[in-house]
Subunit: 137 residues, 2 copies
DNA sequence: GCGATCTTAGGTTTACAACCTAAGATAAAA
DNA sequence: TTTTATCTTAGGTTGTAAACCTAAGATCGC
């Protein structure tokens, strides 16, 4: 049960775009790859997935680049994982063995609870220091 | 973010052992493999992991077999995943890029919430029909 | 038209999931 | 004590997918 590096990269690059959100700047791949230390050739694929899922917009040609398609707090961890993996949780759906049927139900239940949880984490949380909201520095 | 077939098999075979729990029977591999439709050669490895993690006991020789080491409601989904995968959630822990540090914190938070959730699901839930606890059949 | 960007379609490499094989260790039963 | 049924352990295999790279094309501002 692991979070792929691809999802990690997607979160990082989206956090970076969230920082530029509203500024009118459209960072290009090389800049994003450098700032978040992501292999540029791999980042291409990731940004493509994110665009196809409607999380980001892109502009070609000179002055081209990428920008978020929504407000920072409207992009959730659930959205990101689904954009990259095609779904939140992958599990066996074949009903096999005496316990197979019950397990498929339980996986669905786990997925539902996981969705609730990951919908509570947004890009805003990813660009906010963990000390924010506390009473000391 | 997927649940491996190995974890699915582990849950099924443990559910099977939970059904025999307290009966004094020690089902052997072939029986377990047949009842839960798991490749016997693969099941060997899984049962080994479960024994090394203290979730089950084994007996060699004639009349040998496997049995749960705890009560049904004392074996949680969290226990099972940890026994098989070595941990609940695997994620990148390298702090890289401008957003790396914050993400590592968030993954830890997700893990904690996931642990809380999976500790609420036990073998008892895996051998109980989904209609139990309802007021109709 | 030129050059900077995104777009798309491939290829590579390494690791791991999901198995199988086979020789040993143990313990009950004959 | 020999046999036989089980678990134990250490390896091997095979296919797929993650994590990259390469390179030719499509846009668009200048």
């Amino acid at each position: 049960m692991k979070v792929s590096l691809k999802v990690e990269y997607a979160c990082r690059v989206l956090a970076q775009l969230a920082r530029h959100n509203g500024s009118g700047e459209w960072p290009h791949i090389e800049a994003l790859a450098t700032q978040e230390e992501i292999p540029a050739n791999y980042l291409v694929q990731i940004l493509n997935d994110l665009r196809n899922s409607g999380l980001i917009q892109s502009r070609r040609g000179k002055q081209g680049g990428y920008a978020l398609a929504r407000e920072n707090d409207q992009v959730t961890l659930c959205d990101i994982i689904c954009a990259i993996d095609g779904g939140l949780l992958e599990f066996n759906t074949e009903v096999k063995g005496q316990s197979g049927a019950r397990l498929v139900e339980l996986w669905a239940q786990v997925t539902a609870e996981l969705e609730k949880m990951t919908r509570g984490i947004t890009l805003e949380d990813m660009i906010t220091s963990s000390h924010e909201g506390m009473y000391f520095i």
